[in-house]
């Protein structure tokens, strides 16, 4: 009986995330994209650059599963081949954001008010910058490459990581078990590393999922504008852009890269939601059923706010 109950009442573990159907679908989509990111160009059925002037603007067919573009190139192959550049640069931006944001976020809770103040103001300043324009400006300075273009995107993602990590760290450092450790003479470093850091992971995971979606969108936008890519190098945004140029000849065409971008961004957001709903830790797993059922009203609280459920 209790095993069945265990199933019904979800524990805050990664395993429970997979029980959500939306998470499973999202992961499947992302797995496919990851494979493409790794092996896209080799898996492409035809050469992404192979011109075939005899079959321009063809609709989907056996030979060209997603049709051909304005130069007769196979759309499916172009999109598959374009995946690595789009995805990996998006991940690059997220990586930069994590490196620049997480450590200061955790550190600001124990490096004193001065550091905290400065870090917050830097984050404030960065958050005021419009990302795409900033990226364009930076590429003007650093040179027109997508890798360079994602660096400013990454820098602009850092404040989000900083804020979220800082808030989570602050909240968890107020826990009573942290106070208990403080009473045993723990240094702030010990408090943070032993008690707080691992609880912040779920927040970071959720943030990463949604920021990757944002970064992917930013990549698509930049390549759509033609930043950082030299044609005929395929990218998702580039394909979308050129499709729009030839809208009258092939009105269906932009939907395909659009759908691909939307699907990957949507999958990432769905995964982020799933993690947020189910992946939370720092709470005791499976309270007694007796306590679960009577969460109708408040629990026994004293002046300190500690709680006990009274059934």
């Amino acid at each position: 009986m209790s095993a069945a109950v265990n199933d019904v009442v979800a524990r805050g573990r990664a395993g429970s995330v997979l029980r959500l159907r939306s998470a499973r679908i999202a992961l499947a989509v992302l797995a496919a994209i990851a494979v493409l990111a790794a092996f896209g160009p080799t898996l492409a059925p035809q050469g992404p650059l192979t011109l075939n002037t005899s079959s321009l603007f063809q609709g989907p067919s056996w030979h060209h599963l997603l049709g051909t573009d304005y130069l007769g190139r196979d759309v499916l192959s172009r999109l598959m081949a374009g995946t690595p550049l789009s995805v990996l640069t998006a991940l690059e931006a997220v990586g930069i954001g994590m490196v620049l944001g997480i450590a200061p976020g955790i550190a600001s809770t124990f490096l004193g008010r001065g550091f905290d103040f400065v870090a917050n103001r830097v984050a404030d300043a960065l958050m005021t910058l419009p990302s795409i324009f900033f990226a364009v400006a930076v590429t003007a300075a650093l040179g027109n490459g997508l890798v360079q273009a994602m660096v400013p995107i990454g820098v602009l993602l850092a404040p989000a990581y900083f804020r979220i990590t800082r808030a989570a760290t602050l909240e968890y450092s107020r826990a009573q078990y942290v106070e208990a450790a403080e009473l045993m003479g723990a240094s702030k470093f010990h408090l943070v590393t032993t008690h707080v850091v691992r609880k912040v992971f779920p927040n970071i995971v959720v943030t990463t999922a949604s920021l990757t979606a944002g970064a992917l969108l930013a990549v698509s936008f930049l390549t759509f504008l033609g930043i950082g890519v030299q044609p005929p190098e395929p990218t998702w945004g580039g394909v979308l852009s050129s499709d729009l140029d030839y809208l009258s000849q092939a009105p269906w065409a932009p939907f395909i890269p659009g759908a691909l971008i939307a699907a990957s961004v949507g999958a990432l957001n769905a995964l982020a939601d799933a993690f947020r709903d189910r992946g939370g830790r720092g709470a005791l797993a499976l309270p007694q059923l007796a306590q679960i059922t009577v969460r109708t009203g408040p629990t026994l609280e004293d002046a300190n706010g500690s709680q006990r459920s009274v059934a």
Partner: protein, 352 residues
């Protein structure tokens, strides 16, 4: 009742408790209630029967998971999500409300039954004055005019022992202490003249001196208005101070019921005896503190036979198999114990 006397002479016959005929006097009557939780996964209340007569104070005592709170919530039509009544009935003054609709409950709440819960602050709007909230109830439910509602609200605040009702009327919950808030909640609960007040752990979170005041208030209301009270608590001592009759809950069932005198001085169920021993200490002597070995079963993991058998030092073979019926052992005194009539149990002395 002659039949019971005959049967009681023969200790080998387990007498099923005589189910009373519902009378118009019973303000609340619960018969053989079964409540399941988590969409039917486990049964948390297993065949509970109780009654509250007009002007009586009745206490439901038990630990976490004993089912007393769910019984109370079922009686109010306020079962949490996922819980439902699987069997039995609940009736107010003869009117069956087991399957009552939301609208039916809206009519019953306030006019037939009022309720106060553990943390009054969370049941009040923090940004409105308590006077306004009481007046609102009086206008909407009591259909009084603005003026009348205000006057009646001040009266009610006075009735529940709030000093300076005029001042309290204009205060928001944050400005009032726990005790005053609980009194305000009682005022709201009785504002439309219900015959029954259900108090679910209403004094648990209060300081002991305030708790004593609230208990005195409830006794006072009973004396003045004939208000019946059903008081749910894990604290046997509080229940003993306040109530006329007590139902002792364990593992989803009522294991003993009777007058306070009987339960406290002549408990027959081993669990009740243990509870009484554990709760004793009101005379503040240095003593060895009694413990009840083991712990109550988790909801849904009930064993065959008596649920207390694994912790009971009087348990014998028959205790562990077959359902244990409730047996009448005295005037209004029932015990759910397979050995209820055994001399050994009934004569065990208590150091109370």
């Amino acid at each position: 009742m002659a039949l019971n006397d005959l049967l009681l002479d023969d200790p080998s016959v387990a007498t099923p408790a005589v189910r009373g005929i519902p009378t118009r006097e019973d303000v609340l009557r619960i018969d053989d209630l079964h409540v399941s939780v988590h969409e039917g996964l486990a049964t948390a209340v297993r065949g509970v029967s109780l009654r509250v007569g007009a002007g009586e104070t009745v206490g439901l005592v038990g630990e976490s998971g004993s089912g007393k709170t769910l019984t109370c919530r079922a009686a109010l039509g306020l079962l949490p999500a996922g819980c439902r009544i699987d069997g039995g009935s609940v009736s107010f003054a003869g009117q069956d409300v087991t399957a009552a609709s939301r609208r039916a409950w809206e009519a019953i709440h306030g006019s037939q039954v009022g309720a106060v819960f553990q943390d009054p602050a969370s049941y009040l709007n923090p940004s409105l004055t308590v006077g306004a909230q009481l007046a609102e109830v009086l206008r909407v439910k009591g259909r009084l005019s603005r003026q009348q509602a205000r006057r009646r609200a001040l009266e009610l605040f006075g009735d529940v022992g709030l000093h300076q009702p005029g001042r309290v009327f204009h205060q928001i919950p944050a400005e009032l202490s726990g005790g005053m808030l609980q009194r305000a909640m009682v005022a709201i609960a009785i504002s439309c003249g219900p015959r029954l007040l259900i108090a679910d752990e209403a004094t648990t979170a209060l300081d002991v001196t305030i708790q004593a005041e609230v208990i005195d208030l409830l006794l006072d209301l009973r004396r003045r208005n004939g208000l019946a009270v059903m008081f749910v608590s894990h604290d046997l001592a509080v229940v003993a101070e306040l109530c006329d009759r007590i139902y002792v809950f364990y593992a989803g069932q009522v294991v003993e019921s009777g007058t306070v005198e009987e339960i406290v001085h002549r408990p027959r169920h081993p669990y009740t005896k243990a509870l009484v021993r554990v709760a004793s200490g009101g005379d503040f002597r240095r003593r060895h503190l009694e413990v009840i070995p083991g712990s109550p079963p988790q909801v849904g993991t009930y064993m065959a036979g008596c649920s207390f058998a694994d912790r009971c030092r009087f348990a014998l073979g028959p205790c562990c198999s077959g359902e244990v019926q409730s047996v009448v052992v005295g005037d209004q005194h029932e015990v759910r114990c397979a050995r209820a009539n055994d001399v050994e149990l009934s004569e065990e002395l208590l150091p109370v």
